[in-house]
């Protein structure tokens, strides 16, 4: 009776995974297609991979995507960790409303976040324009740029903004799990608060920081809507390039670059997971 249950449940889970991965598998398969169709198989070839590396538009947007995701992840991880520690140290009455504001970008619809940031940046740029014109007329020493536009900078700010809450949310619980006396003990034993932070708090919350960074990077890579509203016309992520293409025809070069990115991630995750598993096994053996 019980075995039948697990067989059926495994079958159900397998079907769900097939559903999740079938489109991805198709994308990968058709990146090796000799023809330019995504539905008719014309034989194996690596042509699209070759063409891909000569396609300025795609390579540029891949570069933008990776750069903005990596920068946003690093900055958001550092800033989010500090913010989480700050929140942790606050009184509940102060923390509660701040956490609510912190949750807004996560809960809000992407399109609303994107639109609000877009309006905000444009308003700030207009204000800046007025100031810069006045400033440049008033003196001749520094010439300020008068016209600012949406671009890589605004894109990066937007990504950092929606990444930080995820970091805080994965670091926060780790802080709460930490023994409160540890920090006091470290200070009693002569640590400065910086040392206490580095030697006591940081190692304790490291798993939270790592998973927060991973989530942040995932969100950055997966994002389209917020980038679409904040990048303007001068910067384009891979998703935006693809969206521009879907109106006409998407080149199989897109399949090729997706396959490459996907395989990179797959290999990285496999290495990380195998390593973790091995370490766990080692420590389990030592303990046993």
């Amino acid at each position: 009776m019980k075995r039948k249950g697990t067989f059926l449940s495994r079958l159900f889970m397998a079907l769900v995974f097939v559903f999740l991965y079938a489109p991805i598998a198709l994308l990968i398969i058709f990146s090796f297609n000799a023809g330019s169709s995504n539905t008719v198989w014309k034989g194996f070839s690596l042509d699209w991979y070759g063409k891909l590396f000569h396609n300025r538009l795609i390579m540029q947007s891949v570069y933008t995507t990776l750069l903005v995701s990596l920068l946003a992840t690093v900055i958001a991880t550092v800033a989010g960790t500090f913010a989480a520690i700050g929140f942790y140290a606050m009184r509940r009455r102060v923390r509660q409303p701040l956490m609510t504001v912190n949750n807004i970008p996560m809960m809000n619809a992407d399109i609303v976040t994107g639109v609000s940031l877009c309006l905000f940046f444009v308003a700030v740029f207009n204000g800046w324009h007025g100031f810069a014109v006045w400033f440049n007329q008033a003196q001749r020493l520094f010439i300020l740029e008068e016209n600012l536009h949406l671009g890589f900078g605004t894109l990066l700010i937007a990504h950092i903004g929606f990444n930080i809450p995820y970091v805080i949310l994965s670091v926060g619980p780790k802080l709460r799990q930490m023994d409160k006396n540890l920090v006091d003990a470290a200070q009693d034993l002569g640590c400065t608060w910086m040392q206490a932070f580095r030697k006591v708090i940081l190692p304790e919350i490291m798993p939270g920081i790592v998973s927060g960074a991973l989530t942040a990077f995932t969100m950055s890579i997966d994002d389209f809507v917020i980038s679409y509203f904040t990048a303007g016309s001068s910067a384009s992520t891979l998703a935006m390039t693809i969206y521009g293409m879907t109106k006409k025809r998407v080149s199989p070069q897109i399949n090729a670059i997706s396959t490459l990115l996907f395989l990179t991630v797959l290999i990285l995750l496999a290495i990380v997971n195998l390593r973790e598993a091995r370490q766990e096994r080692l420590s389990a053996r030592r303990a046993g």
């Binding site: 489109p23 309006l119 598993a277």
Partner: protein
């Protein structure tokens, strides 16, 4: 010591004021402004012309959320009953598709659902389309005038849009439910069993009520992006299925440039999110982690 550390949050509080609160206030201001800057409620009145879009968005998003729940809850529950190794791999497998940008995954569905796409080719191959034609011709009012179909129309239908939503947002349903179920106190379940509850009773009386916070956050996390999407409806709905997201996008970057109206619709969307958050807070006190992936 503890309160000294709270200074660490100051930069982020400033950041939130600038890049979270100020933009939202700006949306509110825009929503109540006319094109030349005065106060008006006309933007909200104009929304009445788009009732069809509102109803369609809600209908499709509710269906997609329900389907996600029907698939996501059993999957989360089954996953939590497997071995640790299995769970770890399954979690990675659920997160992994997100590394391929959601636009790409949706684009892949386009080539599956197209009129001469892979699914229709498959149906053709197994003879489903000719079988359908035979049956339909027999039951047609005038069999002689029956025009046989060459494909099933899938792309450009509401069903395709729902499929795209379910496909893209299913992980957002599974992850919060799973993370709540996995943290359930095993002794509670044991106690229920010791007191004579059957497996079904244990599930209905113990596991289900306790996993409600996860369910609610899953529902929010699927419903909100579904009701506000614009790329999925454009790609799989073929432009015939305009949703709220499309409406907003058009007011800012599309042809019908009207940021005030766009802001007003965005404000409505924010109210929906706030309602969801309030409901969630009422049920899942302190369940912040459940929102987390």
């Amino acid at each position: 010591m503890k309160h000294k550390l709270s200074r660490f949050a100051i930069p982020y509080v400033v950041w939130m004021a600038l890049f979270v609160v100020a933009p939202i206030l700006l949306v509110v201001v825009y929503a109540f402004s006319s094109a030349n800057g005065g106060f008006t409620l006309a933007n909200f009145a104009r929304m009445r012309t788009y009732t069809v879009v509102f109803t369609r968005s809600f209908k499709l998003a509710i269906i997609a959320t329900a389907v996600c729940l029907l698939i996501g809850y059993p999957v989360s529950y089954m996953m939590s009953r497997e071995g640790e190794r299995f769970q770890r791999v399954a979690m990675v497998l659920i997160m992994l598709p997100m590394w391929m940008n959601f636009l790409l995954r949706t684009y892949s569905w386009m080539s599956i659902l197209e009129n001469n796409g892979l699914l229709n080719q498959f149906f053709q191959h197994i003879g489903l389309i000719s079988l359908y034609n035979q049956i339909a011709a027999r039951f047609a009012a005038d069999p002689a005038a029956y025009v046989p179909i060459t494909h099933f129309q899938m792309i450009g239908t509401p069903g395709a849009v729902v499929l795209g939503m379910v496909y893209n947002y299913l992980p957002f349903m599974i992850l919060p439910i799973y993370s709540v179920i996995i943290k359930l106190d095993a002794s509670l379940i044991e106690a229920a069993r010791d007191l004579g509850a059957s497996t079904v009773q244990v599930f209905r009386r113990v596991i289900l009520p306790l996993s409600l916070p996860g369910v609610l956050s899953g529902i929010t996390m699927v419903f909100v992006p579904s009701v506000s999407t614009f790329a999925i409806s454009k790609m799989l709905g073929g432009g015939t299925e305009m949703l709220l997201g499309d409406l907003i996008e058009q007011q800012f970057l599309g042809g019908a440039y009207n940021p005030q109206l766009g802001a007003a619709i965005s404000l409505v969307m924010m109210v929906i999110v706030v309602v969801c958050m309030v409901v969630m807070n009422r049920f899942g006190e302190g369940e912040e982690q459940a929102v987390m992936l």
